[in-house]
C-alpha cells in the first residue's frame, strides 16, 4: 500500500475540527494560524493573540489593512464583533491564569510524557526567540501540537525524551502530524487516527517512542483543502 502524507493545510483542517463551540484558542505562528481558515461552521471559536486581542478575525483584505491592528505574528488582522483589546501584561495574565482553553502550537519535538520542545533549534549564529510559547505551554488548559511527523532527514519528532531545550514539561495533550493524530496519555503516546495506506508498523518505525493504538483508532481524513 502507499499513502500521501497530509499537507500543512490538511493538518490545519484536522486540528481545527477539534475546536469546540465556545472555546478560547490561541494559535501559534506557522501551521497553527492556518486553523483559523478551517473552523467548522456554526461554532463560535474565539481566537486570542498574545499581543493583546481576544476575538481575532480574518486577515485583513487590502482595503481593510490597518498597520496598528496586528496579531502576534505581525499579520494585519480584523476584529470580530465582540472582540476586545488589552495590554501585553493583561494578555499573559489571561494566558498564565488558565483562561485559554486550547493553544495550538508548532513543535520541534514532543516526548511521550508530554514534554514540548519548540523554541530553540540551536541554529548556529542565530539568537534565541522564546516569544509567548513558554507561557502558552504552561498556562493553556490544553496544549496541542501541529508538526511534521519526521524531520527533513527522516528523524522522528515524537520521542521518549526531547533532545532540544524544553519549552515546558508535561504539557502536550495531543499531536497532529502529517501521518497521524496522537494523544499523550499517562501511558505514553496513543494513536487516535492514522493515515489510510500507512501501516501501524510503518508509523511505529517513524516514531521515536512506543506507540499504543486506541481500540477505536480511526482513519485520518484527507479533505480537499
Amino acid at each position: 500500500m502507499s499513502y500521501k502524507a497530509l499537507s500543512r493545510n490538511q493538518i490545519a483542517w484536522r486540528a481545527a475540527q477539534d475546536l469546540e463551540d465556545g472555546m478560547v484558542v490561541n494559535l501559534g505562528l506557522g501551521m497553527p494560524v492556518l486553523c483559523a481558515n478551517y473552523r467548522p461552521e456554526g461554532r463560535e471559536v474565539l481566537l486570542q493573540s498574545e499581543n493583546g486581542v481576544l476575538g481575532v478575525g480574518p486577515v485583513a483584505t487590502p482595503e481593510q489593512e490597518d498597520r496598528d491592528l496586528t496579531d502576534a505574528g505581525s499579520q494585519l488582522i480584523t476584529l470580530i464583533p465582540g472582540a476586545s483589546i488589552f495590554s501585553s501584561s493583561d494578555s499573559f495574565a489571561m494566558i498564565r491564569g488558565g483562561h485559554i482553553d486550547v493553544t495550538l502550537l508548532g513543535g520541534f519535538e514532543v516526548a511521550a510524557n508530554g514534554d514540548l520542545a519548540n523554541w530553540d533549534a540551536d541554529m548556529p549564529g542565530k539568537g534565541p526567540l522564546i516569544g509567548g510559547a513558554m507561557d502558552l505551554a504552561v498556562g493553556a488548559k490544553e496544549v496541542r501540537i501541529m508538526m511534521q511527523h519526521n524531520t527533513r532527514d527522516g528523524s522522528p519528532r515524537l520521542l521518549e525524551k526531547c533532545n532540544y531545550k524544553l519549552t515546558a514539561p508535561s504539557c502536550v495533550t495531543r499531536v497532529y502530524t502529517d501521518l497521524a493524530v496522537v494523544d499523550v496519555t499517562a501511558d505514553g503516546f496513543v494513536v487516535r487516527e492514522i493515515l489510510d495506506g500507512l501501516s501501524r508498523d510503518e508509523l511505529q518505525a517513524k516514531t521515536g517512542a512506543k506507540l499504543t493504538f486506541a481500540p477505536d483508532c480511526g482513519v485520518l481524513k484527507t479533505p480537499a483543502v
Partner: protein, 226 residues
C-alpha cells in the same frame, strides 16, 4: 499648568545619557517609536541597557548603536535578527560585546508591570524545567514549581501612541498599546511620540494610559509612511 508637550526630538530625548536603561514599546509594527529610535544614535547615550520585546527593532531603527558598540545589555523575549545570516546583535551576543537576559514573553511583560507597580519580585510557573530560568530561585506553591522573577524599571521609556493631551494622557489605536501600557509606568522619564496632540483634554473613555505615567509627548508623523 500641566503641559508635557515638547516641540523637538532633542527636547524629547534630553537627559538620555551614559549607562542608562531604556524601554521600547511596540509589537508587530504597532506602537513602535520609530522616530525616537532613529534619533537615539544622535544622543550621547552610551553603555546602554535596552529592554525591548525584540532586539530586532533596535537593529532595524537604531543600527548605529550596535555598530558603535553602545548597547551592552539587552532584556528581551526575542533576540533573533532578520534572515538566515547572523545580524549585528547576534554577532555581538556571540562575541560577548552584548549580554542578554532572555525571558518568556509573559514573564517579560509581567516584570515590566511589576516595575511600574512597586512590586519588586513575583513567582511564575513559566520557564520551569527550561534553561532560561537556570540559576533562578525555585519554589513550589500549591504543588506547582515556580521561579522568582524580578521587576524591570528604566530611566527612559520610548513608545508611540495615536493621540495624547497636555496632561500626557494617551489613546492607542488597535493593538498599539501592547508593552507600552506597562512600560509607561516603569520608567522615570516616559517619552511618547503621537500622531496627534489634541486640543484640550482627551475624554475619559479614550484614556488608555493616565498622564501621570508620562513625562513628555511629541507630535511626529508615522515613520512607516516615510
Amino acid at each position: 499648568m500641566i503641559d508635557k508637550r515638547v516641540a523637538s526630538i532633542d527636547e524629547a530625548l534630553a537627559g538620555l545619557g551614559d549607562g542608562m536603561t531604556i524601554m521600547f514599546g511596540g509589537f508587530g509594527g504597532a506602537g513602535v517609536p520609530i522616530n525616537l529610535m532613529r534619533a537615539l544614535p544622535g544622543t550621547p547615550a552610551n553603555n546602554l541597557t535596552i529592554i525591548s520585546n525584540s532586539v530586532r527593532f533596535l537593529e532595524d531603527y537604531a543600527h548605529a548603536l550596535f555598530e558603535e558598540k553602545r548597547v551592552r545589555h539587552a532584556v528581551a523575549s526575542a533576540a533573533r535578527s532578520r534572515g538566515a545570516a547572523s545580524g549585528i546583535s547576534e554577532i555581538q551576543l556571540a562575541d560577548g560585546t552584548l549580554t542578554l537576559d532572555i525571558a518568556p514573553q509573559g514573564s517579560f511583560a509581567e516584570r515590566i508591570r511589576a516595575g511600574g507597580a512597586g512590586i519588586p519580585a513575583f513567582y511564575t510557573p513559566t520557564g520551569v524545567d527550561t534553561p532560561v530560568v537556570e540559576g533562578k530561585e525555585h519554589r513550589e506553591f500549591n504543588g506547582r514549581m515556580c521561579v522568582l522573577e524580578t521587576a524591570l524599571t528604566a530611566d527612559f521609556t520610548l513608545m508611540r501612541a495615536d493621540k495624547a493631551d497636555r496632561y500626557g494622557n494617551l489613546y492607542f489605536r488597535g493593538t498599539q498599546g501592547n508593552f507600552g501600557r506597562d512600560m509607561a509606568a516603569a520608567a522615570k522619564c516616559t517619552v511618547v511620540e503621537v500622531r496627534e496632540i489634541v486640543d484640550g483634554l482627551l475624554p475619559q473613555p479614550e484614556i488608555h494610559v493616565p498622564g501621570v505615567f508620562v513625562k513628555r509627548i511629541i507630535q511626529l508623523p508615522d515613520a512607516r509612511d516615510a
